[in-house]
Symmetry: C2
Subunit: 701 residues, 2 copies
Amino acid sequence: MILLCGALASAALLDAPRAQQTGSQTTSNVADSLGLMPIPARMQFRDGRLAVTPRFSLAIAGHRDPLLERGVARFVAHLSLLTGMQIASTAESSTKATLLVEANASGNATPQLGEDESYTLDVDPSGARLAAPNSLGILHGLQTFLQLVEVTPDGFSLPAVHIEDRPRFPWRGLMIDVSRHFIPVEDIKRNLDGMEAVKLNVFHWHLSDDQGFRIESKTYPKLHELGSDGLYYTQEDVHDVIEYARERGIRVVPEFDIPGHSTSWFVGYPELSSTSGTHAIERRWGVFDPAMDPTREETYKFLEKFLAEMTRLFPDAYFHIGGDEVNGKQWESSPTIQAFMKAHGLMTSLELQQYFNARVEKIVEKNHKIMIGWDEILAPGLPENTVIQSWRGQDSLAAAARLGYRGILSNGYYLDLMWPAAQHYSVDPLGAGAANLSPDQAARILGGEACLWTEYVTHENVDSRIWPRTAAIAERLWSPQWVQDVPSMYERLAREDWRLQIFGLEHRSKLTLRLETLAGPGGVDSLRVLADAVEPVKGYSREHAAAAAGIEPTSADPLNRLVDIVPPESETARKFGEEVDALIAGGFADTAGESRVRAQMELWKANDTHLEPVLAASFLLKELSPLSADLAELGKTGLEALDAIDRGEQPQPEQRQQWTAQIAEAEKPQADLLLMVAPPIQKLVNASGSAHPRNEAARKQ
Amino acid sequence: MILLCGALASAALLDAPRAQQTGSQTTSNVADSLGLMPIPARMQFRDGRLAVTPRFSLAIAGHRDPLLERGVARFVAHLSLLTGMQIASTAESSTKATLLVEANASGNATPQLGEDESYTLDVDPSGARLAAPNSLGILHGLQTFLQLVEVTPDGFSLPAVHIEDRPRFPWRGLMIDVSRHFIPVEDIKRNLDGMEAVKLNVFHWHLSDDQGFRIESKTYPKLHELGSDGLYYTQEDVHDVIEYARERGIRVVPEFDIPGHSTSWFVGYPELSSTSGTHAIERRWGVFDPAMDPTREETYKFLEKFLAEMTRLFPDAYFHIGGDEVNGKQWESSPTIQAFMKAHGLMTSLELQQYFNARVEKIVEKNHKIMIGWDEILAPGLPENTVIQSWRGQDSLAAAARLGYRGILSNGYYLDLMWPAAQHYSVDPLGAGAANLSPDQAARILGGEACLWTEYVTHENVDSRIWPRTAAIAERLWSPQWVQDVPSMYERLAREDWRLQIFGLEHRSKLTLRLETLAGPGGVDSLRVLADAVEPVKGYSREHAAAAAGIEPTSADPLNRLVDIVPPESETARKFGEEVDALIAGGFADTAGESRVRAQMELWKANDTHLEPVLAASFLLKELSPLSADLAELGKTGLEALDAIDRGEQPQPEQRQQWTAQIAEAEKPQADLLLMVAPPIQKLVNASGSAHPRNEAARKQ
């Protein structure tokens, strides 16, 4: 009765080719308004809606296990949060339930790579049915159900729909570096909640690096005791996080980065390093010389015991050994290491590292784990089941796939580069250099991982560096490849953004508080106007600017400047840019649109007067003074250009050159921030110089 | 060296009479800008400032105990949150420390009524010293230190100051009713954090009422099993809350409301009630008939065992037995109870209740506790150490004090009445009917308690019903009586509001999320304009409106309307009112002020057009449509009145009458909300009718 399979036999489902060719517009619009993210593999909307009231009930039919039951309890709590109604759903008889949940079997006790994650969700006005081969699919389907709930003039409800969903890629991860700055357990858990919401299924835990060894080792306690400043996870914490992830269908893959990126190990165990003498925890950022000594048997004995402990701690079948960015300097300057290399016919540091990797791989294998490492580990002789994580890109990934290795993409998904969501969204694990793989080779591309390196990230801003952008990456990794529409993505991302906050993510609430910290309660409005118009500089510009200024940033630096607080992507700037584009494309005929653009520029123009005293009152804000002045100038310039357009006058070329020079000046980074509203203002200036568009539009009417 | 006592011997300290007579203006302005809340008993500012940098250090001299050490650890974490700097303070030598903390002795393991809570804080440019007789005083002083930290053009710092502080009243409480709606442990804890920040020291836990019995009883498990819908605190939870409170210097006083307000007890134990038959958990609000049977010995046997269990669970010396609002109907209609009354010479239900109270008091006393109850328990024969909590007011409290009983005030501090902070602030436990007590009698007034009854409160909005207003009540109970300046209170409350959010309170972040739930991401801006201009109806108007509409509100009603979300007090309306007052008082000469008032009214006037489609799209928002239209009209009227004033024209009386009628219409409650911006608009209309004030002002110049 609830299941609509009969009807579906004759109905067309929305899937890749069909969506692009027939009726995709309508369906796509419905989907946009719903904010499904990631977009399901196949869906078909039907007539009518299913109401969600305080009397909502859920019944579990078929298989039942703790994973499913706790997932259902979370779902009911989340449904209460979304609707503001206390829904005290108790399991009712299957025929009466608003939502019937039916898993055919249990999933694995701990989620595993390649498990069936599919589900089918049918919603009709009399009820909904969520079916899946196992409880993992049910967890995903429950998130989809939550995303379908909308407020309407008649109450909360979902549209009638048939969804058949499964992920495009089996490995959809988020890596968090907890070494450069420690991220406490509660913050990790909150982000696991976010991952569940967007169907990510791998938490990659970058646990050690030069700047910190962040996990308790009972075998070698000086690792965490001396290598962490006291900021580490106990093994109880680790069990807690693994269990929390497991309940949300998320695997936990630990990474211990060796033989480079390992200074923090040497504080307690200097004998592991390739030099004599003592080591201190690294406080700076970058690639450093210290590396393990791959020529001493004691190194492998240490790793034998250490990996035996750690592989027991983490249940996942995969174990990440890092292996990136060894600069080889210590090896090159060590006579004993050079002698070893000569004796073993190892010509380069890379070959020595490959020797090391091969030895480590044996240890990993002995502990019944499959090794994963960054691009650099790829070398002849590497066992075929090794997984390559690529920070280099699809070319590197494709090369590995052609050699038979499986891989995951992270190039293009580095969250710390402060890219806009659309830029990450455009990166496809099977795009660029991986586009022409054979089907067998392409099947070796398991997916990808968003990566957050934490030079400029603490528990204070970690959420804002991850969310909402990671939801766009999650969609890339789950949804069919044809799901590419950027405006639709942003439309749906805004809804997911809100849901993530409802579920407890703090990326927005922290921003407001931090602006108040900087400006005081009285100054926050004008500071927000500026904050909304800027973004942090992109890529590694912050490092370059510091180097140019002769400053060496360290882990001791407070991260309490505006650049540390504002989101990586300015929604205000993006929307303003869209409005300006639409205005120009429409020949300035949209008077409502023009008045919105004008009001925005008036706000910027007037803001500096209010903001200057606020900036002057705080040592943390002083650096923003030129930015605020530039924003006012941009507003003024934009208004003048628009006035000229409105009057049907073409400004003198000198005038436009002057405006352009001023805009170019405003586009330069200041205080590690970019005024993202400058490019659309330049477009207005350009438009003022071409034939008077409004007049032309008027003439056409 | 750090201690400034030498200098102080000859310097005047800021205390009551001096502050009001000499130099209070300057000092008071300094204090306002700092946001100290509550204002300390005595303080004196000095020259210079103490910098707070990431190298901030703290040393403990003198006595050291876990309470102190954990308080210090929380302080360092909070200082990090306030400054956005990771402060990893380790105890250093006393001479080098930025802050030296010195307690003479340990406090009690569990805080007790009347303990010395005083402290002395000296800040000078080279360091600070916090001294107290015990760790309780240190906890209070650390909060003061946090409140002194400011951002300046040169960094974070505190002003040099000498503070001698102690509370005016020893009992400064917050009562939360967890029966009408259950409030989970994590929400209770968050509010204990808030209490610590403003130096409140009693958490009064209203654990049972008609609508729910919220604590696990091992002696009588059907109490929580059948009386709570599964929503109750385990005894482990209770230990956890008591410990959490203890660490923050907060006593926990449990209340079990008997013999009335006890329907939830009778679900599991119907034999306790005064009628035969079964009972169900009460779902409605109000005063109900069910009451314990005070005539059966079994009732007292039950209470003997139950109170033995509960008095063991709660370490505080005081135990609250409620005792309010027994309507006596069941007693009057029971022949056996009437016979008992006759036999014992009890003439009225009140006398029967007094008999019951006396019996219960013996049980409480036997368990080494002191009884506290609401006004109704006051009767001849009540032991002299009983404490009366007054919901009736200062007259009732004073009457008790004259009879020798101690008391605390709650009338005037009911948070659920949705009063503005200033209204609570004006209520003094020693004001009104208690103003003329003799010193001995006045000393019996122990303080007061803010009370939150939770008919319309869940864990979703609990923070916004308590904060920030409770900080104003906390100041009333801590600070000297002469601290009365309302504008200063609001100035400092804004800063405390922000600090409370930094420390984790959710009263503002939840508002934003809930507005998005109601309006969707696209509609939130225009909904916020309306939300900012309204307040929930006051007192019991919501009940009266429901009754007039023939609706009976119950605990099953979702609390997801705008009235459930907006703060009790509109900051926008208050500030707008202040601006209008200043404008009128200044004869409309302040053009900047006028343009702010004008911009605000333009916003309101224009908002309805944007908001209407948003309201139409949601069943939860439809009811706001008339309010939104009225707000637009108010904006329009205010602008027209101001235009007339600017033109120097006096509008026709008919015009002003029409405006006034329209404003009166807009002042009527709609959707249980009040448009708080209406009265200032009426003032503008009135001003437009008097002699042209701007012209007069201009003439005077």
